[in-house]
């Protein structure tokens, strides 16, 4: 849609589709130059940080899960990590492995949802996966089977796919039965085949040219593993810092057009979290079929084209399937489903890699465990500034495109980030103004 206001040109999308939550995009062009890009997040705020105050230290995992129905496990596990850190408790390896298995399930479910239902229709010219299924039912069925495999892990380990009930501070309420783990094996083996077919499929897509110089931020795990649930924060600029430093090194700013806070690196600029950042900083940690697929389909060591993030997401799905299968091999039970986490007056920090990128939680607890203060920084609000910069660069390079096509491409560019607007609200409309 185009509006001419006082000789300027305004391109806008009122309500972005195939994203999680509500937002709009506005781009202003004056004398052939993009002068302003605003990702307007009008998703109404829900004030989680405020309503967490006064709650018990065992409650944030279930409460913060409700920030996002697509990645509730990310919220649950990051909250657990932060609260356990505050209370000075470290969970045993068996519990950590089981959490990692649950997280793999969420990665598979979330990535399959984004690749097949939200993003792939853009590349193939369809309005939705349902429309795509009319012509290529096999592709959509492959994606749904993959997504269902992720949900099977969530349901077997967590109790249900959306807002699992089995996660608690200190571990789990109940350990999985051996039968449940045996049932998951063939499901994940099929998922691994489907994920490899997904890498082949998405590598063959046509990608618009766009190379962006953003700084990347991701976790780097201590052991030889791709980052999911632990590690130090690392930037492509060479910075390494622990979760406790997040609040000092990442500055959140509020802008008038968004209910999502914008994050920047202190003393630096905008940065990017998510699959591109994780892959650039941890590609050497991929093993087996995921490493082979990344090589075979030419991802290189660093991917700077946000449109190709769909390939990285597919490779990460391969990784998550392999990792889940490997945990099924390794896991031989645990003495207890959870360890005690007695409260104490302290501050705890947690950082994990949600499917969309780095997720940070911080809780200040009273001696009786009551939450005095909570701070949550989700991936999408961290990516908002980079997303606006990408759109400015992309629109500037494609001003010759017809209006409808340019708008469609901008929406696709936004979906490169799999923005979770529901999460970020603490996100989009496209408007382009041209002279």
């Amino acid at each position: 849609m185009t509006h001419k206001i006082d000789g300027d040109r305004l391109l806008h999308v009122d309500a972005l589709a195939r994203v999680e939550g509500e937002g709009a995009l506005r781009v202003r062009v004056h004398d052939g130059r993009v002068v302003d890009v605003e990702l307007a997040i009008y998703e109404p705020p829900r004030f989680f940080e405020a309503l967490l105050r006064g709650r018990g230290h065992t409650e944030p995992p279930d409460i913060t899960a409700r920030i996002c129905g697509i990645c509730p496990v990310a919220y649950q596990l990051t909250a657990c990590q932060a609260i356990e850190a505050a209370c000075g408790v470290e969970v045993p390896d068996e519990i950590r492995l089981l959490r990692r298995l649950l997280y793999c399930g969420e990665w598979i479910e979330s990535h399959a949802l984004h690749v097949y239902l939200l993003h792939l229709p853009d590349f193939l010219g369809y309005a939705s996966a349902v429309d795509l299924a009319r012509d290529r039912r096999d592709l959509v069925e492959q994606g749904l089977r993959l997504k269902k495999a992720g949900n099977a892990v969530l349901a077997e380990i967590g109790g249900r796919a959306v807002h699992p009930v089995n996660v608690r501070v200190g571990g789990f309420y109940r350990l999985p039965e051996a039968d449940a783990l045996i049932r998951l094996r063939p499901v994940l083996q099929q998922a691994l085949d489907d994920a490899l077919a997904t890498v082949r499929l998405v590598s063959s897509l046509d990608f618009p040219d766009l190379e962006q110089p953003h700084e990347y931020l991701a976790l780097r795990a201590p052991a030889e593993e791709y980052p999911l649930d632990r590690g130090l924060l690392m930037t492509s600029g060479g910075g390494v810092f622990p979760a406790e430093e997040f609040g000092r090194l990442v500055v959140e700013e509020q802008v008038s057009h968004s209910t999502a806070l914008h994050a920047r690196l202190a003393g630096g600029g905008l940065y990017l979290v998510g699959p591109l950042a994780r892959y650039a900083l941890n590609g050497d940690r991929l093993t087996g079929a995921a490493r082979d697929a990344a090589r075979e389909f030419g991802l290189g060591e660093v991917c700077r084209n946000p449109f190709r993030s769909i390939v990285v997401r597919a490779v990460e799905t391969v990784y998550a399937c392999e990792e889940a299968l490997s945990i099924l091999e390794l896991w031989h039970g645990a003495p207890d489903a959870s360890v005690d986490v007695p409260p104490r007056g302290a501050v705890g920090h947690g950082v994990t890699e949600a499917p969309r990128g780095v997720l940070y939680h911080r809780y200040a607890l009273d001696a009786d465990g009551s939450v005095l203060d909570a701070r949550i920084v989700p991936p999408t609000s961290q990516n908002q500034a980079a997303l606006e910069a990408d759109l400015a660069a992309f629109v500037q390079a494609h001003l010759d495109l017809p209006e409808e096509e340019l708008t469609r491409r901008c929406e696709q560019a936004i979906r490169n980030y799999d923005p979770c607007i529901s999460c970020a609200t603490h996100f989009l409309r496209l408007e382009l103004t041209r002279a």
């Binding site: 994203v19 405020a50 309503l51 409650e59 039912r137 009930v165 802008v255």
Partner: protein, 273 residues
């Protein structure tokens, strides 16, 4: 790219199938995701209904009217209070899905604060520039704003129940939904009672069923995510919780979660006042 992958230029013919719209207000997207989580049924469903508006799933957007609207989320802004009236006008049947739409949701915990406290304790706690934020001091269910044909409870809704509601609405019959408490499902599942045998606080006796007694099956007490069961005797449960030594603060916490603040001594909730 293999050119056979790209969509052919011609559009599919217009159909006379019933139209389905899915709307989102303040929420986590989890209940509408439950529709996309029907991996085995989604494509079959899309053959019998025309998905006319479903932002999370499609960029196609038909203007309505719609035969069935599923509404997720609660009303927390003046703009949304107006938007739900438009949705109602465009919808033959309007079904609310999930705790946010049916009760105000976890974000309705703000309703416990007064308007002044909402500004100082809520908006200012999250946003350094509260003046940029246009939010109401309350989060209210859809039924507080427009007539609702059916409410489907749960945080999140159960996807089997969601499919039952959609198919029943399309067939013009009454959906078969349980109206008992989690306790009844739990007994049928053969679980040992977590509260009687294990002393674990459990909201099963007063919570609407539909989850197959999920939490007690995972050795945890029900935390009430399907909201109060019809005719729930919360007073008797509170007495039992207190007798088991639960502190008053924890009794309040357990009743104040995903279906807004529930008044434990009987009346349905404070949120709708």
């Amino acid at each position: 790219m293999d050119s056979s992958l790209r969509r052919p230029a011609s559009d599919p013919p217009a159909s006379a199938r019933p139209t389905l719209a899915v709307w989102k207000f303040a929420s986590c997207d989890g209940c509408q995701l439950s529709l996309l989580d029907c991996e085995d049924e989604l494509l079959a469903l899309a053959e019998v209904v025309e998905i006319s508006h479903f932002l999370e799933a499609t960029s196609a957007d038909a203007p309505g009217p719609y035969d069935l609207s599923l509404v997720e989320g609660s009303i927390t802004t003046a703009a949304d209070a107006e938007r739900i009236r438009q949705v109602r006008r465009l919808s033959r049947r309007l079904v609310t899905i999930g705790a946010c739409a049916t009760s105000g949701g976890v974000q309705a915990l703000r309703n416990l604060a007064g308007v002044d406290e909402f500004g100082s304790e809520y908006v200012a706690a999250v946003y350094p520039r509260p003046e940029y934020i246009a939010a109401l001091a309350t989060s209210t269910p859809i039924s507080a704003h427009v007539p609702v044909d059916l409410e489907l409870h749960g945080c999140p809704v159960d996807r089997t129940q969601l499919l039952e509601v959609v198919t029943a609405c399309l067939a013009g019959r009454t959906p078969q939904l349980p109206a008992e408490s989690v306790c009844a499902e739990c007994k049928r599942a053969g679980n040992v009672c977590v509260m009687v045998a294990g002393g674990t606080p459990c909201l099963g006796p007063v919570t609407r069923s539909g989850c197959d007694a999920l939490c007690p099956s995972y050795a945890r007490g029900c935390y009430g995510c399907f909201g109060p069961a019809p005719g729930a005797n919360t007073g008797a449960l509170v007495a039992l919780l207190r007798a088991d030594g639960m502190a008053e603060r924890d009794v309040l916490r357990i009743f104040r979660t995903f279906n807004g603040p529930v008044d434990p001594v009987g009346t349905r909730r404070e949120a709708s006042r």
